[in-house]
């Protein structure tokens, strides 16, 4: 086993490196010791190596292969298993994105490793075993877990917005690898990709999130949520009840089955505050809720709240925010 700490870069549909990659690189450097290296997998991604070096990567293992596209796990599993087998890193980390949730479990199986998903803290024991913290029990409990140190790579994914990204130049030596991925390795045929063109930040990365619940009562009324989000430079989210009712698309769902978010500000509009919704946003720094029911459970879990009808509260609130933001 080498002492290398690997961080697998997460690349967005538009080819940019996702912010969580820089967060994980930075925290690995601060907390884990050992040379921090990056792994860059994708198609036409080689030019991103220098960005990773800018956050402290000493080495960057690059597999640039046309079969590594389209969010298709098969090629990534083969490439990463191959690299881990060849170089035996001590630790392999990545952001906890939907894509990491898709392919990391297979990588762990493939190389016989333990895998901790969606960690909110990372560190090392004195004898060099990875120690992490993560939520469990619908995010109502936090467990501290340690790897047993059996010599297999210790693999973990990290929740976006858990750590601060911090630039720091690393040596950035590029190691190009040929993972030998061929068309035959790709079992899933992608027929169509629908990504949303939006000027709003992505939910999981956003520093501020404005979400709407069933109380919005229509798709049209969700414009109130979008307007408030845009005013705050926030991402827009929703509850499952709002998604189920067809007021907004599924990719806006925050919660146990939707996205886990950790913004500095979470504004919950007409959301009751179920365990499952809280599971996805409970770690927000400041929670503000607007609800017309004084008994709504969300109030007990909020920092600030206005008990009132959203349709009456949002217009003056928007005006006040505009004033405050222009000062």
């Amino acid at each position: 086993m080498s002492s290398e700490i690997w961080v697998v870069a997460d690349i967005k549909a538009d080819g940019e490196v996702r912010k969580v990659t820089f967060e994980v690189l930075s925290e690995a450097r601060r907390k884990l010791g050992g040379p921090v290296c990056a792994v860059l997998l994708g198609s036409g991604v080689s030019d991103k190596a220098s960005e990773l070096a800018g956050y402290g990567a000493e080495k960057i293992y690059v597999v640039d292969n046309p079969n590594l596209k389209d969010f298709n796990p098969d090629g990534y599993v083969k490439a990463l298993c191959g690299l881990i087998g060849k170089h035996s890193p001590a630790v392999v980390l990545s952001g906890n994105t939907a894509f990491a949730e898709d392919y990391m479990p297979r990588v762990a199986s493939g190389v016989g490793s333990g895998l901790a998903m969606d960690c909110i803290d990372i560190g090392m024991t004195d004898d060099g075993r990875l120690r992490i913290k993560r939520y469990s029990h619908s995010s109502r409990a936090i467990s501290t877990q340690e790897f047993n140190g059996d010599g297999s790579a210790m693999i973990a994914t990290v929740r976006p917005n858990s750590f601060k990204e911090e630039e720091s130049a690393g040596a950035g030596e590029v190691v190009s690898e040929d993972a030998g991925i061929t068309d035959a390795d790709i079992r899933i045929k992608v027929l169509e990709i629908k990504t949303k063109e939006s000027d709003r930040p992505e939910l999981t990365e956003a520093e501020r999130v404005v979400s709407g619940g069933r109380g919005l009562a229509s798709e049209e009324n969700f414009n109130h949520i979008y307007d408030l989000a845009d005013l705050l430079g926030a991402a827009a989210g929703a509850t499952r009840a709002a998604v189920d009712a067809g007021y907004c698309p599924y990719d806006m769902q925050v919660g146990q089955t939707g996205k886990a978010v950790s913004p500095i500000l979470y504004v919950a509009v007409a959301i009751s505050g179920s365990v499952q919704h809280f599971s996805g946003m409970g770690s927000s720094k400041v929670i503000v809720s607007i609800n017309k029911d004084p008994e709504a459970p969300i109030f007990a879990k909020s920092d600030y709240g206005i008990c009132g009808d959203l349709f009456q509260v949002l217009p003056p609130l928007t005006e006040e925010l505009k004033k405050a933001l222009s000062e």
């Binding site: 967005k12 389209d70 969010f71 994105t97 939907a98 894509f99 479990p105 297979r106 762990a108 199986s109 333990g114 895998l115 998903m117 969606d118 120690r131 993560r134 939520y135 029990h137 619908s138 409990a141 936090i142 467990s143 877990q145 340690e146 790897f147 297999s152 079992r187 899933i188 045929k189 027929l191 169509e192 990709i193 629908k194 990504t195 949303k196 992505e202 499952r240 998604v243 990719d251 769902q253 146990q256 089955t257 365990v275 017309k292 004084p294 879990k301 909020s302 920092d303 600030y304 709240g305 206005i306 008990c307 009132g308 009808d309 009456q312 509260v313 003056p316 609130l317 006040e320 405050a324």
Partner: protein, 280 residues
Amino acid sequence: MKIVVFITQTQDTEARIKVGSSGDSIDTEGMKWIMNPYDEFAVEEAIKTKEAYGGEVVLIAAGPQRASQALLQGLAMGADSAVHISDEALGETVDSLVLSKLVASELGKIEGVDLIFTGMKIIDEESVQVGIQIAEELGIAHLALVSKVIDVKPDEKKLVCQKEIDGGSVSVEVSLPALITCPDAMNEPRYASVPNIMKAKRKPMKMVSLDDVDFGSLGINRDAVGKSGAKIKTVNLEVPEVERKLKIIKGSDETTVKGDEIAESARELVKLLRDDAKVI
């Protein structure tokens, strides 16, 4: 179509939970155990597929004796038969790789499986991996977070699904056999009625003891089943009380804001967010 669904029981995390005396797990004294909610979606999807294309649904669970309750519920929902790998050690934390090898080996004994459903995660330990790892053990493709099964083509042995990705969705086609992990948005699980639960008791349930398992061929040690054999060990568990001091801004009648109070509350909230919380 021969369809297999992997299900398990979880602690009801909506109920009150507290840390047990060992400090590394939830106190299960008097705990209500339920079928993992995501596995209910998996069972529902399997039964819907069977109803549309014919065939049979087999459930597989590894767990202590109480796990038979979840299997019974699945049978009452409409599955045809069940396999219960039963051992009290399976009630502890079990290493994901050990678990996936164990349950996949039972699937290996069933011939001609076309389609496999699992939940996306269990709601107590939230390991979020066993389903996908079963696919790796079986050497077949998996589709994670499928929000909609668009088309099943039993004759061509193909399947078209919509799955969720970061920032959007994709539609994909895959050859069968394949494994699908289910989030909640895909269907509305049917209710297991009392008469159906009575009937379910007469459906075939195969019991497998760990003594029957050929651990050698799985490449694992029998001792690996249970807490001590896990690659990742919980050393501490906390159930933090949500510590938020609500500054609620409400009207004089102690309920909702009305009239002039509304603008006043809005002003006060913005001031607090700026000067107190410093988030805008």
